[in-house]
């Protein structure tokens, strides 16, 4: 509780770190901030070409099927891998100044989140321009699932940030883990393709229900099942709780470990 109050007091720091990160990301390049939009657009073009011309997947508009799941996934995986180095990369600051250490992973995850929101502008643009269309009632659920994913990513981000300080290999291990994790999450395929006996295991993966909901809303244009959303929310909350407890415990010795 005290921590939340303190984090609220440091909200300006979070905001300015997010701003710095977003603005600094493409600093120096000619197109600058435009890359935030060009990047996903080009990615989408590549998928369209690959999956509708060369590798036909048997799923209608596979590039959209893939893309509405891939954008949330990229946010999640960058929160995990980038969150891991959020403390390490700012170690000079951590060693010299007091601020709630949670600020660093929080702002990293938040800036990745904002980046995802900007990518969604591209998704909406494509959905409208191609005439695929949007179900506006279903769209009301989109902010909810985004927040649920944000909670989950925050939990994992806190966890990986704190652990990486003590165990630097985690940074690289997490790169492999997220890649494997991506294939274990129904991003390239639909959850129906998963063999019956593996379904319970898939449901333990907190990203599975989240991706299912995103796809329901944007690809199938249907209202997602509340139970799926709730399932994702509960898993996210557990992870966040775990992440913040572990972080609070481990942060006491950060300075000595850095």
């Amino acid at each position: 509780m005290k921590l939340l109050k303190e984090l609220y007091a440091y909200r300006e720091m979070i905001i300015s770190l997010v701003r710095k990160d977003l603005r600094g990301r493409y600093k120096g390049s000619v197109l600058g901030f435009l890359w935030t939009f060009i990047n996903p657009l080009l990615q989408l073009m590549v998928y369209t070409i690959v999956f509708s011309v060369i590798l036909r997947a048997g799923i209608d508009k596979f590039y959209l099927f893939l893309f509405v799941a891939l954008v949330p996934w990229i946010f999640f995986s960058s929160a995990v891998t980038g969150g891991a180095t959020s403390i390490l990369s700012q170690q000079d600051m951590v060693k010299k100044i007091y601020f709630p250490r949670q600020v660093l992973p929080i702002s990293y995850v938040t800036s990745s989140f904002v980046n995802m929101l900007l990518c969604f502008l591209v998704i909406f643009g494509v959905l409208i321009v191609t005439g695929y269309g949007i179900n506006f009632v279903a769209l009301l659920y989109l902010p909810i699932v985004m927040i649920v994913e944000y909670i989950l990513a925050m939990g994992i981000g806190l966890l990986s940030a704190a652990l990486t300080v003590y165990f630097r290999d985690l940074e690289y291990i997490l790169g492999i883990v997220t890649m494997a994790w991506m294939y274990l999450t129904p991003i390239m395929y639909s959850v129906d393709m998963v063999p019956e006996k593996f379904v319970p295991i898939f449901n333990l993966n907190p990203m599975t229900p989240i991706i299912v909901v995103y796809r329901d809303i944007l690809y199938y244009k249907t209202i997602p099942q509340i139970s799926t959303l709730l399932h994702a929310f509960v898993l996210g909350l557990i992870v966040l709780l775990l992440g913040s407890i572990v972080f609070s415990k481990l942060q006491r010795n950060f300075v000595e470990e850095l």
């Binding site: 440091y10 300006e12 120096g28 010299k96 100044i97 601020f99």
Partner: protein, 422 residues
């Protein structure tokens, strides 16, 4: 916590693990388990501190004594191994200036970033923005990217932010060397006004002078324990004397070692080689018909001493010898300040019309009954001449001593006897 205390440190101990060769990756942890051996070192061995609201406290001590660690514990950058620390109010630490500065962003934008790290909200920063810019004297450059700033400008901006945070407690670690002299003076003035407005200040320094200027109380930390806690002037003096004693002990030790070494191997006496009673800066010339064999600076009790108070007696004891029988020599003793200023000098022949007969080793005492020099570092120069000023042995900066002048505000070289009438 007591009513008017803002910082309470109770029996705080801090242990560091000192790794010989630390492995942080999995491979290193598994393969080189031997390397993970570490030594535990107690940096703080039980510190008790109470600091009241509005107090300015200085922590002094030599490198590695634990003073910076104490400051880090108060600022919550680190946590104590044992004991408790309670702090009331917003803490601003000037441990690292310019944290989070982004070189590509303008000075103005960086003020926002940097101030936000101290926990200020946007509204609070807006309120202070003008003060910060005015204090930094960077009005014309404030919208230029920080990478175009000189390092002095950079520090000025950073200091202005840190000092305008309006914290309840301000922690400062050896950073009053910001910008040019006029800006430094301004920082000092600002610190004084911050103090006057009721902010608690804790400063870490190894220069007691700085602490005397601002603090009401000085705490001398040695080997992780508080050695003395009291009026800055006295604590500072004791600290300086102790440091000097320690240094002298070391010199003495080295001297003894050197002597036992030189006994083993006869060293040829050359121009370059300085005898042990000389300090490193000493320079020597002369035809060596007579040589100075020792020089001691002592107090009135005959104890070898390096630090003198203004007004105390100071005695220079010089030993001279010569190979030539019945050589008669003159001895000159003079004092110069460490900046090269020649303060005073005279010779025994010209003053007393006396020539020293060097039939055997001869000891001469030059007694200053009342040392009227002001605070500073001084050197003793010696010269052995013939009555016709032939240079036998001349040593510049044979040895040095420090003077501490008890009166504040005196300037110049020495105290000219004077009176005020009013």
């Amino acid at each position: 916590m007591k009513q008017d205390n803002v910082i309470e440190v109770k029996n705080v101990k801090k242990k560091f693990k000192v790794f010989y060769d630390k492995g942080t990756s999995l491979k290193e942890k598994l393969l080189f388990q031997k390397r993970n051996h570490y030594e535990e070192r107690w940096v703080l061995k039980g510190i008790n501190l109470e600091i009241k609201k509005g107090e300015a406290v200085g922590l002094i001590g030599k490198n590695g004594c634990g003073k910076s660690t104490t400051l880090k514990l108060i600022s919550r950058i680190m946590y104590p191994t044992e004991g408790t620390i309670e702090v009331k109010g917003r803490v601003s630490s000037l441990l690292e200036l310019g944290a989070g500065f982004h070189p590509d962003m303008s000075g103005r934008e960086n003020i926002y970033t940097n101030a936000s790290i101290f926990g200020l909200t946007r509204k609070e920063i807006n309120d202070r923005l003008d003060d910060i810019i005015a204090f930094s004297e960077l009005e014309e450059f404030i919208d230029n990217p920080v990478r175009t700033y000189s390092s002095g400008m950079y520090m000025r901006l950073a200091f202005s932010v840190a000092i305008n945070v309006d914290a309840d407690i301000l922690l400062i670690d050896e950073i009053l060397a910001v910008g040019d002299v006029s800006f430094q003076t301004k920082c000092f003035e600002k610190l004084k006004s911050i103090k006057a407005s009721g902010t608690t200040i804790v400063i870490v320094s190894h220069s007691p002078g700085q602490i005397e200027q601002i603090c009401d109380r000085a705490i001398w930390i040695e080997d992780g324990l508080i050695k003395e806690n009291g009026i800055p002037k006295f604590v500072g003096e004791h600290y300086l004397v102790a440091m000097e004693e320690k240094r002298l002990d070391k010199i003495e030790q080295e001297f003894q070692e050197q002597q036992s070494n030189s006994e083993k191997q006869e060293q040829p006496f050359t121009e370059r080689q300085m005898p042990a009673f000389c300090i490193d800066q000493a320079t020597r010339h002369g035809n060596k018909k007579a040589i100075i064999t020792d020089c001691r600076v002592t107090d009135s009790a005959g104890k070898k001493c390096k630090v003198f108070k203004n007004g105390q007696p100071l005695i220079v004891e010089v030993s001279i010898k010569s190979q030539i029988p019945d050589l008669e020599v003159d001895l000159a003793v003079s004092i110069s300040r460490d900046d090269g200023l020649y303060c005073y000098g005279h010779t025994i022949y010209r003053e007393k019309n006396y020539l020293i007969n060097l039939n055997q080793q001869c000891n001469i005492k030059f007694t200053i009954t009342d040392l009227i020099l002001l605070t500073g570092k001084y050197f003793i120069n010696l010269g052995v001449y013939s009555s016709e000023s032939e240079e036998y042995d001349v040593i510049w900066s044979v040895t040095d001593f420090q003077v501490m002048s008890p009166q504040d505000g005196e300037v110049g070289i020495f105290r000219i006897p004077h009176q005020w009438s009013y």
